[in-house]
Assembly symmetry: C2
């Protein structure tokens, strides 16, 4: 019952990057649209990417002493209102439950947009002594933010994420936690997702509602726009005061603890797509690819070919790889296109002639290079080639970032550089909100971060010319 | 800075079983109450139990070819209404979102009480050919049901669960899937949670809203009440027709696929507590205990004791056990009580005299038996003792089930048996709803299931005396 399935076509990224992105999301079978705007279905292939990211992070969180918990999904309006900056930031985009069964509720409940208030309420019950600290919690869940414009992964009204929440006896310990968790995200991005990052902290304008300081990792997408890829917040004792969380310290004095939170969401999958994808579809970093190797029998009807291909699948599985064989009756052309669309890092082909020569052919999703691999070296060479793909991906993304990061000395220059090249523009900044607003209004760029890696470009602010000792990065962000 | 922490007290189970249950939930630090009735916080120790159950099931689901996905948490009212039995069953207990930000919504959205409608809507987009079948999906999430009375684990307005949803080309394949997944749940209960089960199917009255047949596993709690512990539903093609899901079969004819769903929730943790707990608190089956072994140094200030205890912790960790040492300055008495409360299956004590004798002492949480273990046999003996605890727990629960399962030949006799002993009452049943209602109204018992393991007790229905060929089990259920 042979048949020729149609090869799916996607829009060229040079023609329409946004449409290319949407095409990849649907044609690679990552998502489907639900009946509610901004609520996306993560299909098995999309969810498997998230599961692989979860496994990496969850293991790391636990190694660092964090424990998983589950908080309710609903927050009473009065609880959300306890911390005033927080409610101002989140109330406008809350979805509200007003009826339970057929009864109107006495107090409306919002579906969590984030869970600081819930963690604080819980801690106010259970934290009493310095012996109870630190509390280092994490939860995997989905949250809701009623956004006006929505796109798969990048901006959903509902999205999956993890949110870490910790409480510490001292400010110093809380700040260390905040920075440590940003490093965990940076490690995930650079060493697993092949996405180079800029580490830094947000301006007051861009920080999380209620935070004293927000640290961020910023990535550059293929179209030279920025994606905020993970954030870590230091709250000081502001929430603790608002929620009445106190503890007896070692001197038996009542103190307020210091708090952090940090989150990374399925948005990062949008980042993977836009960093690595090409006009054939998705390109997945081997470290998180649900299928790392697709084995395709060539001339499958020839004696022994299917068996040999199956043997390769089994051997690679035993070697610890995520591998799949496609023994369907679809044409080789369709299969090539299909697994390219799905971004499988390595395709392994084996046909009658290969069998005669005791070899198979590995094709790299990145460069398209074809490499002959002797069958008796399969278990060593294939993992090596996956590492090659992983580094090629990082290097390409790094080169994109480096070649599109510019220095400007005035707003005008920054604006021209952005218009002509896109990318990240570094300038000095005096720290004034007015200058940040001017850059937004006149050059269309938001501040991405004040990077850890500071450089002295000038003595004065690129916008107002006043003395400035901070270097800041501007960009157009998703 | 030594101190004597107060040993937590709980209500005796013989005095007030319900209060005992609540005490265990809070004192063993499984849950905390949130500001919204019926929404519970799963604290680290409670969530870790759920994670261990998740790991067992998730692995099994994947081995059987299921894939995880993520569906939206909100269902438009019109979508919920598509299958009429389903909406009748669930609409009365839905929580409704009516506002997004400050805008009233055009159509109200319910927070998923279960996701059949969402899966069906998705399948109606993506299923076209017999080649697309079966679809074997699962999701881990929380659902909301606006219950009037609520209790931790047993009846929450929000609870965590997994819901499997599958779609098949033939009725036979779907029925096989339904039965297979019930077996997965039975295996979890019996071989990991040490909870013996009765497998059977539900009556029409008790089946899932919209299902053709619901299969269940029923467990008996320590107080002889029943807990429905996992269910698996066969839907026929009812939902497929309601949602317009069709596929071209191998003869190119348009057909409706057949559907199943199956779920197991954090309710099972309530079952573990009520099956195995005692007046000292929780008793956890080693297979899912977050801490399988607690190592306590005795006379910790004596030279070498703490180091030796730490060495045991490390050795047991290397041996693959979930083990913890308590080196805090709390008194031994407090530590004994604390880890008994938390249901840790095995306590390992080591003091100066044990060190001299090259041994440690293992204390079983179940029997309290103290067993001397030579240190050079640690890695073999401790896992053996954990297996002993696991079988002791199953045997005790099985004996409770067997000794409290009775045969009755009339409603009156069933009623008396229930009043005098509690437990499961087996009778013949004609299949009429009227008799099921009579048993409920007059004897306070609901039908638990029509067990797979049928016995011929009589020729006629215990309620109405009409000919009957089905044996049914009645009980008082949580």
């Amino acid at each position: 019952m042979a048949k020729e399935k149609k090869v799916e076509q996607i829009t060229d990224m040079e023609v329409d990057f946004a449409q290319w992105f949407t095409d990849v999301c649907t044609k690679a079978e990552l998502v489907d649209y639900s009946g509610v705007k901004g609520l996306f279905i993560l299909r098995p292939y999309g969810y498997a990417i998230w599961e692989n990211i979860q496994n990496i992070l969850d293991k790391k969180f636990k190694e660092l002493g964090h424990e998983n918990v589950s908080m309710p999904m609903l927050i009473p309006e009065s609880l959300l209102q306890k911390e005033k900056d927080h409610v101002e930031g989140f109330a406008p985009e809350c979805a509200w439950v007003t009826m339970g069964g057929s009864e109107p509720l006495q107090e409306k409940l919002c579906i969590r947009p984030t869970s600081e208030t819930l963690f604080c309420d819980h801690w106010s019950h259970v934290v009493h002594s310095w012996r109870d600290l630190p509390m280092k919690y994490n939860q995997w869940c989905s949250v809701l933010r009623w956004e006006k414009t929505t796109r798969p992964f990048l901006r959903g009204r509902e999205f999956l994420w993890q949110e870490g929440h910790t409480l510490h006896a001292t400010a110093q310990e809380a700040v260390e936690e905040t920075l440590q968790m940003l490093e965990v995200y940076a490690d995930l991005c650079e060493n697993y997702l092949a996405m180079p990052v800029i580490r830094g902290n947000k301006t007051d304008k861009e920080k999380f509602a209620g935070a004293e300081n927000t640290y961020t990792i910023e990535c550059m997408m293929h179209d030279h726009k920025a994606l905020q890829s993970g954030t870590s917040h230091y709250f000081g004792d502001g929430f603790a005061r608002a929620f009445g969380i106190t503890f007896s310290d070692k001197e038996n004095k009542l103190s307020y603890p210091h708090q952090t939170s940090w989150g990374l969401s399925t948005r990062i999958i949008g980042g993977i797509i836009m960093t690595h994808g090409d006009n054939s579809g998705l390109v997945l970093p081997p470290a998180i690819a649900p299928i790392q190797v697709i084995v395709l029998p060539i001339a499958m009807h020839k004696p022994g070919v299917a068996d040999k291909a199956q043997e390769l699948v089994s051997r690679l599985k035993v070697a610890g790889l995520r591998v799949k064989g496609d023994f369907s009756d679809n044409s080789p052309g369709w299969k090539y296109a299909q697994y390219e669309m799905k971004g499988v890092p390595l395709r392994v082909e084996i046909g009658p002639r290969d069998m005669e020569n005791g070899q198979c052919v590995a094709v790299l999703r990145t460069s398209g290079e074809k490499i002959t691999v002797p069958l008796d070296e399969l278990e060593t060479r294939i993992p090596e080639l996956l590492e090659t793909v992983q580094s090629q991906m990082f290097d390409k993304a790094k080169s994109n970032l480096d070649s599109h990061t510019f220095v400007a000395h005035s707003l005008e220059e920054a604006k021209t550089l952005q218009e002509e090249n896109g990318g990240f523009i570094k300038t000095m900044w005096c720290g004034d909100l007015a200058c940040e607003m001017a850059m937004k209004e006149q050059a269309g760029m938001s501040s991405r971060c004040i990077p850890y890696a500071q450089e002295h470009l000038d003595d004065c602010c690129a916008v107002c010319g006043k003395p400035a000792d901070k270097m800041i990065i501007w960009g157009v962000a998703y």
